[in-house]
Symmetry: C2
Subunit: 254 residues, 2 copies
DNA sequence: GATGCCGTTGCGTGTATCGCAATGGGCGTT
DNA sequence: AACGCCCATTGCGATACACGCAACGGCATC
């Protein structure tokens, strides 16, 4: 909608791939070098890009600070965190917290497993949306039409043989999840890893976040993990209650 | 330099304070609402801002992803991480890794203490630059003129009675740190917390990052912490060697 | 010492962006 | 239930602003 802003913002994902010099940025944007320079300078002034000693541009520091502040403003996260830690202490497995936003599901908190095996996931990274338990929980709560539309729009990468293969299967799965109020991912993302998850509901009953427990099957079998489901649901409900209690509709401070 | 981009980027820190509606954004920017709307829309398309159900704007998801990718591109971090974990396992205290960038020092990695006492610090957050051990190490390596100029420009908040009070004292401290090759923060940021840090040097001898060990004096005294200095320096040197070895000048993959 | 490359600058032109004023929709009020 | 208010949204015309060009300068290479 706004040309120069649009171009400037397009530079960010480009630099996310790695440092680039002025010429490269200008080429990728399809603009004159002087134009790219002006945009980069503006980004620089705001701290979003950084100029390396070798003159190439990188993503800058303020980006971290902004992302940090953004995540701190998510009040679900703040409320949920101690609950997640407690759950981790009780069962030892990796705990994830995720939210839905604009066709994406992303982890906003994580408590590492105490077992040496570490999972591949990162706070802030988009989730494998077609297979992750938390993704199913969050999407299952969308209104029917948006759910269907989104399902059609998605890709269905076969991470493993158990990954969700297509939109139809995915929608069936979402219906089941919606019905039963919990979700699993049994080796759909990584062959040897299972997850169970439960939704966190706000005062109006809408799902505001989702949490899950993940463990490799060398540590516990899928059945053993499923046995922890009541514990996960209790935790999720506790978070939901606290969230509804303290924030009836709006943030108290401000 | 570029008006519309400048305005658009000014929205981000504004939203970092908390969600805001269109009118508020327009007011704060000092522009007409229609202008603010166009800027917000562009930011929205790039995923940097998100529209809440209540129509107010928040910082968006892509911001996390960008910050994430940015930090992953910092190859010091990747190399250092296992070393930091090992150090933490050996002594149990909190380990920090920080870099200098554009008049700021920021933490880029952290391994939590195994003791229940948790420090207040966050990855991505700017460091208390006038007192932190890692800050002293990084600034001590700047060329004399820039060091002096920066010292003059800084504020010197008295977090505690032991905080660095002014530029002159700070410059003396930096000279000492530069000389001895390590740094401390003895209760300068929080009364009861001490740190020891060591520089991580690249192939050319320049300081590329700094690391530190932090512990509250209810756990170990300052002297006991100082006794760990050789261990910290060995770790820092090991990281420096590995960094210099694998990346002579550039990233191998790309 | 000469040549090429890349970042940088000043400037005129054209267009993308700005603010205005009017429309529309959602919500609380009387 | 109807009214009125507030806020987001749209179309439009004027102009400030961002664009690309071309020339400069510093740096490294041959």
């Amino acid at each position: 909608m706004s040309q120069s802003v649009d171009r400037a913002l397009s530079i960010l994902p480009l630099l996310a791939e790695g440092p680039a010099d002025l010429g490269r940025v200008a080429d990728r944007l399809g603009v004159h070098k002087s134009t790219a320079l002006r945009l980069l300078r503006t980004l620089h002034e705001h701290g979003l890009v950084y100029r390396q000693p070798d003159q190439r541009y990188r993503l800058g520091a303020r980006l971290f600070a902004l992302a940090q502040e953004a995540v701190e403003n998510l009040d679900v996260r703040e409320i949920a965190h101690p609950h997640l830690v407690r759950l981790n202490e009780e069962c030892g497995h990796t705990v994830h917290l995720a939210v839905y936003e604009e066709d994406e599901v992303l982890y906003i908190d994580k408590v590492e497993s105490r077992y040496p095996v570490r999972m591949y996931s990162r706070i802030g990274r988009p989730v494998a949306i077609t297979v992750a338990a938390v993704a199913k929980l969050l999407l299952a709560d969308l209104p029917e039409d948006r759910r269907r539309a989104l399902a059609e729009r998605l890709d269905y990468p076969m991470y493993t043989a158990r990954s969700t293969p297509d939109a139809a299967t995915f929608l069936e799965e979402l219906a089941r999840v919606r019905e039963q109020g919990w979700a699993t991912d049994l080796g759909g993302h990584e062959e040897s890893i299972n997850c169970v998850g439960a939704p966190i509901r706000g005062a109006d009953g809408r799902v505001v976040a989702a949490m899950s427990l993940s463990a490799p099957n060398v540590v516990v079998t899928a059945d053993e993990l499923l046995a922890l489901l009541p514990l996960v649901r209790r935790t999720a409900d506790a978070i939901g209650r606290e969230y509804s209690g303290t924030t009836p509709a709006d943030t108290p401070h401000d």
